[in-house]
């Protein structure tokens, strides 16, 4: 028999106690590494636990003790790999701390986000990681007033004073734009993200700032409002390319929109990067796989997951940890989708 821990069903602390000839309080002490147990007794109890294949019932434990050792994570969806990377980062930290992970996809039911949060905060999880929350204002105030621990990931809400980790979106956009300018581009199209998100605003501002710094006039004609989705990226790029004087480069606010833009360029019979340069944002796994490999602004997604989780675990240990927002650095990843403009 390889592992005895699965052998029997419904072994409780009572069976263990009677088998080992102790009270069940003592078994509980052994389980919780309480020092006040004679080494010999501990030994005997542990052996019984192994023999019987006892496994604690976490429902009962948390009912009695108040902690579930589960972290809830709310994500909008799992589509692009963007979220997957963040989850990997979270998961790594959680495993180290031996917490479990409860995953909630708000994808299909944005309206229910607040209700999810309600039920989760009600004893289901010890803390919450909110990835790209849609309308955090709906519940953050209440979470705060309950002193329920949570950390926001990748939501640069303006003026909100709560624990959060994000990335230097402004700087990333600035650098990417500057890179295109230094290649010689002056007509640089920009496709925004969903402007409700602070990150999208920051990226646009970084773009504007770089133009300004290099004395290139900003014009709305080169900017298209979009939604972070591939198809919209395609449409916006089409629109940009159909102008009388089209841009020589397009900077999309995320990678999947950049993929959409690439589709548009090809459909117009043009080549990347010979005719049009393309830059994305995020550096999701696909970015390096696609051909030509996409030059993009790297977001430290995995690391954002790590850091956010560490913050949350710290908050769990010490609820009075002062609130902080962490911005992790982005970096330009130069690949094959850009070159100087023709002529």
């Amino acid at each position: 028999m390889k592992s005895s821990s699965l052998v029997s069903n419904n072994v409780t602390i009572f069976e263990v106690a009677s088998q080992a000839g102790v009270s069940y309080g003592t078994v509980s002490r052994v389980l919780n590494q309480d020092q006040h147990v004679k080494a010999e007794t501990r030994e005997r109890v542990m052996k019984t636990i192994r023999d019987l294949g006892y496994v604690v019932n976490r429902q009962a434990r948390s009912l009695a003790g108040g902690k579930t050792h589960i972290i809830g994570i709310l994500v909008p969806d799992l589509g692009t790999g963007y979220i997957g990377e963040i989850i990997q980062g979270i998961n790594t930290e959680l495993q180290i701390a031996s917490y479990d992970l409860m995953l909630y996809t708000t994808h299909r039911t944005p309206v229910l986000e607040a209700d999810y949060v309600a039920s989760l905060a009600q004893g289901m999880v010890d803390g919450l990681l909110l990835v790209l929350p849609r309308n955090p204002e709906d519940y953050i105030g209440i979470l705060n007033s309950r002193h329920f621990p949570f950390v926001l990931i990748d939501h640069q809400g303006i003026g909100q004073n709560c624990p959060a980790v994000g990335a230097t979106n402004w700087q990333g956009a600035y650098n990417a734009t500057e890179y295109l300018i230094q290649l010689g581009h002056t007509r640089i199209g920009f496709i925004t993200g969903w402007m409700d998100l602070g990150a999208a605003v920051d990226r646009l501002e970084g773009y504007k700032a770089a133009l300004w710094a290099h004395h290139i006039p900003f014009t709305e004609d080169l900017v298209r409002q979009s939604t972070f989705h591939q198809l919209d990226g395609y449409n916006c790029a089409m629109d940009l390319l159909n102008q009388p004087v089209p841009p020589t480069a397009i900077f999309a606010s995320n990678d999947v929109m950049a993929f959409g833009a690439m589709d548009a360029v090809r459909e117009k019979g043009q080549r990347i990067p010979e005719d049009i340069s393309i830059v994305g944002f995020d550096d999701i796994p696909q970015a390096s796989i696609i051909h030509p490999a996409l030059t993009t602004v790297r977001q430290p997604l995995r690391n954002m997951g790590n850091v956010a989780t560490q913050m949350l675990l710290e908050l769990l240990k010490n609820p009075d940890t002062p609130t902080k927002r962490i911005e992790l650095p982005t970096g330009l990843v130069v690949r094959d989708s850009c070159q100087p403009p023709r002529g």
Copy 2:
């Protein structure tokens, strides 16, 4: 105030009962849609619940009632989008049935898989969805003997008699190979998956069968054993291409290895599909994004998630449902990575 459900902390069934002027048993009845409550009383209790912002404590409920309304899902990792698709399918069904999802990544701790399963089965979740399990034999027997409900996803274990959903791997590989043959290819390289997995074996067999059916001799020289990873796909493809008489087409057992193969072809200075045709398997989201778009065998990943979840929920409702294995159809998706061989 938008939602009152988050307003107060720790409202229990007791407060609701005293506020509404009933016993807490009655509140419980209302909560559980018990018919034996006067409409008027029900009304009053429901109003109180709303007013107080009461939310049930699921830990307590499951301790008392035995059900958690949580489904556990074990996945190897979240890297490629492959798993993400399956999870989306699972999640959709779970939301409909209002079950919660507990996600376990066995990625970094394959050894612990059996222990996870132990703790989960011990009251933490009502049922288990095992995606691409590594060594199911370690615990499946025990799960079975405990009558703990579970469904395997995408594991074509040989001779195992347990609930499972998979895809028609043999047929998919057969069709893809036949497609290449009909284009005129006769030297078709094949890169296998991790041969511990039944799916990988089936794909290889499908390939062989198609060759056989078209009177093309099978030779080991054109087959490379691999692991489902991109880098190994690259290496195997390199190896294949470096042969004295290289293949004119390469069929990889999954998409990410096909991506690796594409890298190898390019590194050899050859073009796809002009010089070498490439076929993958899975049809993960990246397959259509990459350039040239990958011709591949579509696995109905999302649908596999749906179906598996439905099976599990059925099993939960009626534990005596006869065990069945479902094979969902694969389909060839023709894109731009193949053409007839040169000359």
